[in-house]
């Protein structure tokens, strides 16, 4: 059985349709890449899975639970962690306190939560900054802090919203390594929103492409990037190269 199932998820903001009848599944243990041009409705989908926006229509199931109607904190306690597209660390706290707050879900005792938090900071290579204020971190460090914070709630499914966005090119490989390590060591399932095509191609087991709120492709990376509708969505139909024996895009 799929870990997460989206069924006909639709989100309208007034007249704007952000997601239209989106259906796909996420299997246990896989890394699913979610791609699509700006405004395709990727982040809106995350907001609905995590309970921040209620869907206008459709069903979202995680394990045996119906997520629609749950609050974000309830969704997290069921085992879904997330990061934000625009990072949201607790700026007035130190780095380790940021992670402690998350770890306290399992260990109310601050001393123990601190020990827990420390191990996550080590994984995300922030241990040497543990007592600095979150405010003084760089963007890349903030993104890692958010991942550490989300992981400290011990999720089974982690939703990452553009973790490489605005990050120094040299640190991207390190982030990717971390992501594959998390899957291997923690048995984590991930849904990753990414703009960087090289990144998404290298880490995803499967890719779902969105365009104008709808799913336009769902399959293995190599196949999805060759889909006419995906190339068309990103670059316009002038760039669609007809493959031998195929009829060019409409």
């Amino acid at each position: 059985m799929a870990l997460l199932t989206l069924q006909g998820v639709t989100k309208r903001f007034g007249g704007l349709v952000a997601n239209n009848n989106v259906s796909f599944t996420v299997e246990e243990g896989e890394i699913l890449g979610l791609i699509g041009p700006n405004g395709a409705g990727k982040s809106t989908l995350f907001e609905q899975i995590t309970g921040f926006y209620p869907p206008t229509a459709g069903r979202i199931r995680f394990r045996d639970h119906d997520l629609v109607g749950l609050r974000p904190d309830q969704v997290n306690r069921l085992g879904i962690g997330r990061t934000f597209q625009k990072v949201r660390p607790f700026l007035g706290m130190t780095v380790i306190e940021n992670v402690m707050v998350a770890a306290m879900q399992y260990d109310p005792n601050p001393v123990k939560a601190r020990r827990d938090a420390r191990t996550f900071l080590e994984i995300f290579e922030l241990a040497d900054k543990q007592d600095t204020g979150a405010r003084s971190l760089s963007i890349g460090e903030r993104k890692r802090l958010e991942m550490a914070r989300a992981m400290a709630t011990k999720p089974r499914l982690l939703l990452l919203d553009e973790v490489t966005g605005g990050v120094d090119q040299r640190t991207i490989p390190m982030l990717l390594q971390l992501i594959s390590r998390l899957r291997k060591e923690q048995g984590l399932t991930l849904v990753v929103i990414e703009h960087n095509m090289r990144v998404i191609m290298s880490i995803s087991d499967r890719i779902v492409a969105l365009h104008l709120g709808e799913v336009i492709a769902d399959g293995p990376p190599a196949q999805v990037v060759k889909e006419h509708r995906v190339i068309e969505a990103y670059l316009g139909d002038a760039f669609v190269v007809p493959a031998a024996g195929e009829v060019p895009g409409r």
Binding site: T50, G51, F52, R71, P72, D73, Q74, N76, R77, G81, R82, F84, R88, P89, F90, L91, G92, M93, E97, M100, V101, A102, M104, Q105, P108, N109, P110, V111, A113, R114, R115, D131, R149, A150, A152, T153
Partner: protein
């Protein structure tokens, strides 16, 4: 074991700083206990009682606004609820004021949940505005409610001096020790909260509600908890005030100016810090008394000018409050 030691040390500050803190706390307690013995004048004792009362009220406000980030400007509601509950119970049914204080606290906590639940849907300024409106509504209701004395207010029946009756006439210093005890309890609980999960959760809600939710924190639940604690201490302060002054009317226990004062004292001292409310109260109340005596009086209002100027300076240059300023110096 060595790792536990370092964890402890980093959580609660290094050893020497801890010792320094304990010495400072010991001195503070000694000064507080000795105050009415050293200062015999009723005027000084009255001022000290006000400082302690307002330190407690400011701390109550600080739990909700400083730690949890929900700025309320209607906190007089809970102060008035405490003052009126114990007083009306006492006058109508002869209920002991200590017991009345407990009932006042319970009522204020219940009221805080009724007010908080809808208001916490509002964010930032809108929450503050809603609390002002509710404060004024309840103030007006109290003025027009004849059963509790209406605009004329209530004069509590005079009784013989005793701790049980919560009244002292020959020597007022017992009031001083009662409020010192209440305030200490309030500060102790705040100190415990600061070090517990609740404190971390409240700060997380203050820093970023959405991020707090994303790590499993129910923001409504924790805002309501902060509100309950805050309202409870306000109400306890209200009963103390009623027993101390033995007269109350809506304008003395429900005014907007009271709500604003507890906010200002905390802002000057340092919001979201344990000692901020005491520092603010201990500095600003004597200052306002002093300037009023020195330059106040008919129409000159120099005292208010100085008070206002100080607040403006603090807000502009030292938004972290005096405690925040000392901390920065301490780190250098």
């Amino acid at each position: 074991m060595a790792t536990t030691g370092t964890v402890e040390a980093t959580t609660h500050g290094s050893g020497s700083r801890r010792t320094f803190g304990l010495i400072l706390l010991g001195l503070l307690v000694a000064v507080a206990l000795a105050f009415p013995i050293v200062f015999q004048l009723p005027y000084h004792r009255d001022l000290a009682i006000k400082v302690l009362l307002f330190a407690m009220l400011a701390q109550a406000w600080n739990i909700l606004a400083g730690y949890c980030g929900q700025v309320s400007l209607g906190h007089a509601v809970f102060f008035g609820t405490g003052a009126y509950t114990s007083s009306v119970l006492q006058m109508a049914w002869g209920v002991n004021p200590w017991f009345g204080m407990v009932i006042g606290v319970v009522l204020a906590v219940a009221l805080s949940q009724v007010i908080g639940y809808p208001c916490f849907r509002l964010r930032g300024h809108y929450f503050a505005i809603a609390t002002i409106a509710i404060g004024e509504i309840i103030h007006t209701l109290a003025i027009n409610w004849e059963f509790i004395g209406g605009a004329r207010g209530l004069t509590l029946p005079i009784q013989r001096d005793s701790l049980a009756a919560f009244q002292f006439h020959s020597t007022k210093y017992l009031y001083y020790y009662i409020i010192l005890g209440l305030m200490s309890l309030c500060f102790y609980i705040t100190w415990r909260i600061e070090r517990a999960r609740l404190g971390y959760y409240l700060k997380a809600v203050r820093e970023d509600g959405a991020a707090a939710q994303s790590v499993g924190i129910s923001i409504t639940k924790y805002k309501l908890m902060a509100m309950a604690l805050s309202a409870g201490f306000m109400a306890a302060g209200g009963t103390f005030y009623a027993q101390y002054v033995l007269y109350l009317d809506p304008d003395s226990v429900f005014p907007l100016s009271l709500s604003i004062l507890v906010c200002l004292l905390t802002v000057v001292g340092g919001t979201g810090t344990l000692w901020g409310p005491l520092v603010g109260s201990a500095l600003m109340l004597p200052l306002s008394e002093f300037t009023r005596i020195k330059w106040g009086g008919t129409g000159s209002a120099v005292d208010l000018l100085i008070y206002g100027a100080l607040l403006t300076i603090m807000a502009v240059f030292q938004p972290a409050g005096l405690v925040g300023m000392f901390r920065r110096w301490g780190r250098r």
